[in-house]
Symmetry: C2
Subunit: 791 residues, 2 copies
């Protein structure tokens, strides 16, 4: 019955039976959220081995854990039903039927489970739940309980549970382990980040106040339950860090009880009084009712999809995968909160502890820039919010300006651990993976180019650009003998090689950044001198300092280029031992060559993920088509894709250089990384970077979208199996709708009457006027497939 | 009110307020048990950070843990009370008053706690609990709940909880750890050993069946509740691996509700149908009632104390400590079960995972031999029960006969891990600590000498003695050049030194064993040739093989003796670096010298615990008084007492050689190891070896009791502060009551009329006749105090 709340099948991700082995996987996949919070798709009543969690964006705490954690916050879901004293759950009862469906169009998770106890009593539990996209304080759950064949007493316990723990993976050494030890990671220890501050019950509502221990953030949850049938009794059950309402019913056989649970959540990050905020919001939604609150959320969801839906005619599974990835990005971002960003696993799990990496700016941000620019702006404002942390990090190295942390959380401090959890391996990323700072600048520049958002630039962007350029100018080392500026002992995107000198990706991106920032400075000088003067005064920036950047940029060291045009990834890379990749797995992904693992790839030419190839995607105008082809062929044959960021970039560049077969394989790998769990770790959280990369593979790969010379440019290619692809882009405040078929493509600009934009299709300029679609003929057969390499 | 169940204060160990920091300590100290099971003194309602546990003797399981565990079995205690919906526990409510008292005379734990909730409602919970010593299947709990100032609804949930976990300590490496890593041990992971097999509820009783996963032992618990007031409602609450009865009351303010919970426990180790056994026993005790079951248990306790009570007139604290240690030994042993022994932490905690060490035979067994010979016999029959395991262990080394495991559990297999839990340090005890096999033989020989139990010898003892001697004969190595038999690469009792050759303790004890076993063989030849023939046929033992033992014994290598008469602990010990001990702690115990820890004591002359000194205690007739003094002086100055086994032995030998000041310090250290928690790890379980050592320090130290030339011999000494000590011994079926004062001592033999025994007091023979006490004058001043060494 509750399934009437869900969209049509093409928007549903479904589960058709309960499997303990798959339970943690579905918890991740069925996450609901609204960017302010994410709640994993755990069963309301819990079960043994569950990895449930609600995560509140920006609520980090370092108490009791070696590294700061995104806190596993109080659980609002809890709804435990007992029938004649027997708890309905998968541990206690037999599951007769169990189906769930996640409606990714409106962010609703629906469920129908029929339990049978040892006395043969069958009870069906249906539920729908959502985290409101309209009022991000609200989570709501409707449950319908049907006593199929009995009239036993039904007790419903609706709880707020504050006794939560984050998981800490610990090494376990099996007996008889030799040194160096073989490590097994089978056990979870648990860390505590929360302490109770208040409990209250009044007017048929309950409230629990908790506080994070080291970061001191107040978290309040209020909850209320309304029912279709008046309960026989209603009471409150209290224990430390937990409060629950208990309702008793004595239904007749075959009858159904409906229970609506409203939960409002506030934190001291947003509200002075979390209690008052919770109670006010609760009163409001309880009065409005479940359906009204859900309709508001629907409307907010519909507005989001208007700009970001994608379709592949002829491939419903791929369409669903595209939408699933977009859904995961939409529930991870909150355009209203400029103090948070998206962690590597979004708000869907504890993997990477909620830390923020370059994944956000390079892999996810383009989706937001081109479909949800307000959200993109909020994400970049997070980097402004943490600019002081970046300044401190630069100054720790003895440099001026701002250096972004490889792993960032609430303050911008470096949160990347220096050692693996077993203490045996040194992690150098926090020390050496400098490119993150240029990646942030790249994100700012890309956003400004796409939106023309001068206010953002003036208020936030320019300061980030200047401070990071200042850092580069200080940390680049002048080599007198060679007459170049160098970056030595770094790690590039390919993390298999540490302590390398002059990583091509980093050096070229830094040079490009300095050039762009000098250009921005000059533009501001002429267009908005007052703003520039204010920023310059704030950070004591002089024209001379900017001239220095201009002088430095062309003198940044370049690496060698071989006779085929392959750019050396870093000084001496060509001299590393060549290890041929000879074995591929069922997903057409290479395996580690025999005897090699990540820790002994240092001396080889094997790559974890694209480095030079990634650079050529980010800066398309800087390299010739021949260079792109030569580098793709060379490096693709050496890349193990041990990062979920890797396949999407290879899909894009594979299409660009004509390696279509591989490109489609890489796209599939990227699009289904979580739906097919092809990395095997989806239970730890969604691969958010891959979700963003998948959108880019679609739009920049098949759509061939780039920004060239400041204009949208398209050079599409479609797999023969697909009939048409459709996507939409936001460009300078307007909407550009694009559809591509094998024979032609249609472009339509939506905006104020008279608005025009010039785009290019396969290097031919097309002039668009708002409201008037244009169809351009294509000859995709003119882009022949090249023979795949290495398979 | 319930305190009327408790004995007078001199038998009570008390707690006067609730302290979270001390909670786990009291859980150990307040353990109740009956040798078949032990239940830690946790609060009935639980709290955060509790380390509760019920342990069933012999119920081991290795599923999900690196080393086999004594299983943390289902919890029978659970009694959760909610008042007006608020859970009464230390986390949820304010504790107004809290006192507990363990009655060590009758094994009853009493409690009175008054809770106040946030609404000012005060409720007092009193309880007494016991594990019956008369019917070891029964645990019972009486609770009285008083609504002090309110008439809120009271709900009592009485549960059986099968979802238990054993703790697994995991290494945690703090961030920035250098290699080799600094390890912190702050986290606990948890391992699962149990799976549910059945749940049932009928006739106001509940039943839960669980099974250990790898060892397949069925465990059943049945429980029933009777009340003083008819509850308003009564229902059963079921969930996976848990079942509970829920009773609701609406008492008037000031009134008291009494709840009696009976729990019966059966396992497939004892009973074919655990369900039937549980239900029958439950019906029987429920009919008899709480008081009746308690009276039966009292009577069984009184019988035990008749033989083992000790008193120190003039020192009530020391008397209490003596009784506390005896209590812990009494609740650890079950004379009815010859398939289990006592683990290093008895049934009081998870420390050492319930494994059985030499602690049992050398430190604990004398208490049982001389006060509870039936229990001693059961403990030695455990070694017979595991003789096949010992045979397998010997054969793994390529030897015939039987070699006992350093750590033994259910089967006699070696359970000692080869690596520390962090995987960084190799543990050699299981490989090299061979003396355990001679220690078991020593236990058998001591028991037979004290009891004259020819039946035990014939049925079990001789086979152990012959098989272990056979092992020694095979594993001793003949050194042709020196003309001696050697034991090379071993660890002696002093575990600071591994891979040593010819440990004096081991070699001398093996020589002694072979001599004694040859004697036993010869005696059986003349006294019981049929039995000997049967054993010899069973194990194919020939007279020639026994002659070989006789030939080997005198040829076993001895170590050097220096000019002062100090026996070298092992070959080359005298050449190890001398490290003076210069710092003592508040308990007068030496600290590690600066820069030394256990892992770098190998090259020094520092000892963990007595080795040669222990040998001289075990074989008093083999060494002169001068040798004992020289060795005590030499080794005591080098011993760090990093084992709780160490102080008791130093107390005994200190008295023997006249170092009275130190001896008293060592006795105090040993007697209060758990009451004062002076090792800091009592929360992991009782130091059972120290409890046994304390009894020996009392009887063999102050009482000066030894067996010399086959007769009890006394050479007492009393500290000036003490007026009199009293103890009792069982000797060859009779009871010998001993009291010592400064001026004289009294000995009384109890037994059949006409029974006589000859004992000696300070080398003078005394002829005792049953029923006639004899008082002998003493001149304790004739045993002058020697100047203490090293302080």
């Amino acid at each position: 019955m509750l399934h009437s709340y869900l969209s049509t099948d093409d928007w549903l991700i479904t589960e058709s039976r309960f499997s303990r082995a798959r339970a943690n996987y579905y918890e991740t996949v069925f996450t609901i959220g609204n960017g302010r919070l994410g709640t994993r798709g755990s069963l309301e009543e819990g079960h043994q081995g569950e990895l449930s969690g609600t995560f509140l964006a920006g609520v980090y705490d370092s108490h009791d854990s070696p590294v700061i954690d995104l806190v596993n916050a109080p659980d609002w879901l809890g709804l435990v039903i007992t029938v004649g004293g027997v708890r309905l759950d998968v541990d206690t009862c037999t599951v007769v039927t169990h189906t769930r469906a996640l409606d990714i169009r409106h962010g609703i998770l629906g469920r129908t489970t029929t339990f049978r106890d040892t006395q043969g009593r069958e009870t069906t539990l249906e539920s729908v739940r959502f985290a409101s996209m309209a009022d991000r304080r609200l989570c709501a759950l409707r449950a319908e309980i049907t006593a199929v064949n009995h009239d036993a007493e039904i007790v419903v316990e609706s709880s707020i549970e504050g006794r939560r723990r984050n998981l800490e993976r610990k090494p376990a050494y099996p007996p008889g382990t030799k040194f160096p030890p073989e490590i097994k990671w089978e056990k979870w220890a648990k860390t505590n980040h929360l302490t109770e501050t208040s409990r209250a019950a009044a007017d048929n509502s309950i409230h629990l106040g908790m506080q994070t221990i080291s970061s001191g953030i107040d978290i309040g949850y209020s909850a209320a339950v309304t029912t279709s049938v008046t309960p026989q009794s209603r009471s409150v059950r209290e224990q430390h860090a937990r409060i629950a309402e208990v309702l008793t019913f004595t239904p007749s056989a075959g009858s159904t009880i409906r229970v609506d649970k409203f939960v409002t959540i506030a934190t001291s990050r947003d509200d002075a009084s979390v209690y008052d905020t919770c109670q006010e919001a609760l009163a409001q939604h309880r009065t409005a009712g479940f359906d009204s609150s859900l309709v508001d959320s629907h409307a907010a969801w519909d507005r989001k999809w208007e700009d970001c839906d994608t379709e592949i005619l002829g491939d419903p599974a791929a369409t669903q995968a595209m939408r699933f990835n977009a859904y995961q990005l939409l529930i991870a971002v909150n355009e209203e909160d400029p103090t948070v960003s998206i962690g590597a696993k979004s708000l869907s799990g504890e993997g990477y502890r909620g830390h923020i990496f370059w994944d956000t700016e390079i892999l996810m941000l383009p989706f937001f820039i081109y479909t949800q620019p307000d959200a993109a702006k909020a994400l970049l404002r997070y980097r402004y919010h943490t600019l002081d942390g970046a300044r401190i990090l630069a100054s720790k190295g003895g440099f001026r300006g701002a250096r972004y942390a490889w792993e960032s959380a609430d303050s911008g401090r470096e949160e990347c651990p220096q050692w693996t959890a077993d203490g045996l391996e040194r992690l150098w990323m926090g020390d050496e993976e400098l490119h993150i700072t240029a990646d942030v600048a790249y994100g700012v520049l890309t956003y400004v180019a796409a939106t023309g958002d001068a206010d953002f630039l003036a208020e936030f962007g320019a300061e980030i650009l200047f401070e990071t350029s200042r850092y580069w100018a200080d940390c680049l080392t002048w080599d007198r003998s060679k007459g170049v500026y160098e970056l030595n002992s770094v790690i590039g995107p390919d993390e298999f090689h540490s302590h390398v000198d002059n990583n091509a990706f980093t050096n070229v991106l830094v040079r490009w950044q300095l050039e762009q920032v000098v250009r921005i400075y000059r533009e501001l000088q002429t267009q908005d001198p007052a703003t520039l003067a204010a920023i310059a005064e704030k950070i004591t920036l002089t024209a001379r300092e900017v001239e220095r950047w201009e002088e430095i940029a062309p003198q940044i060291a370049t690496t060698r280029t071989n006779e085929s045009g392959v750019i050396e990834q870093f000084d001496g890379y060509f001299d590393r031992t060549h290890v041929p990749i000879t074995v591929w797995d069922d997903n057409n992904m290479p395996r580690y060559p025999e005897g090699y693992h990540h820790f002994n790839c240092e001396d080889t030419d094997l790559l974890k993920q694209p480095d030079v190839v990634m650079l050529m995607y980010l800066l398309p105008d800087q390299f010739t088509q021949e260079a792109k082809r030569a580098n793709f062929d060379y490096y693709e044959a050496r890349t193990l894709h041990k990062s979920s960021l890797s396949p999407a970039i290879h899909a894009i560049m594979g299409i660009e250089v004509g390696d279509h077969t591989r490109a489609v394989q890489y796209f599939t790998r990227s699009a289904f990384v979580d739906l097919a769990d092809n990395q095997g770790n989806t239970h730890e959280g969604i691969h958010a970077a891959s979700a963003g990369g998948t959108w880019q593979a679609f739009v920049a790969g098949f759509g061939g979208f780039r920004v060239r010379n400041g204009q949208p440019a398209f050079s599409p290619w479609l797999p023969p199996e697909w009939d048409e692809i459709r996507f939409r882009l936001r460009w300078r405040g307007n909407r550009l709708s694009v559809s591509v078929r094998h024979s032609d493509m249609t472009l339509q600009l939506d905006g104020d009457t008279g608005t025009t934009e010039t785009v290019s299709v396969n290097n031919t300029p097309i002039h668009l006027t708002a409201g008037t679609p244009q169809t351009v003929e294509l000859d995709l057969s003119g882009r022949p497939e090249r023979a795949p390499v290495g398979s």
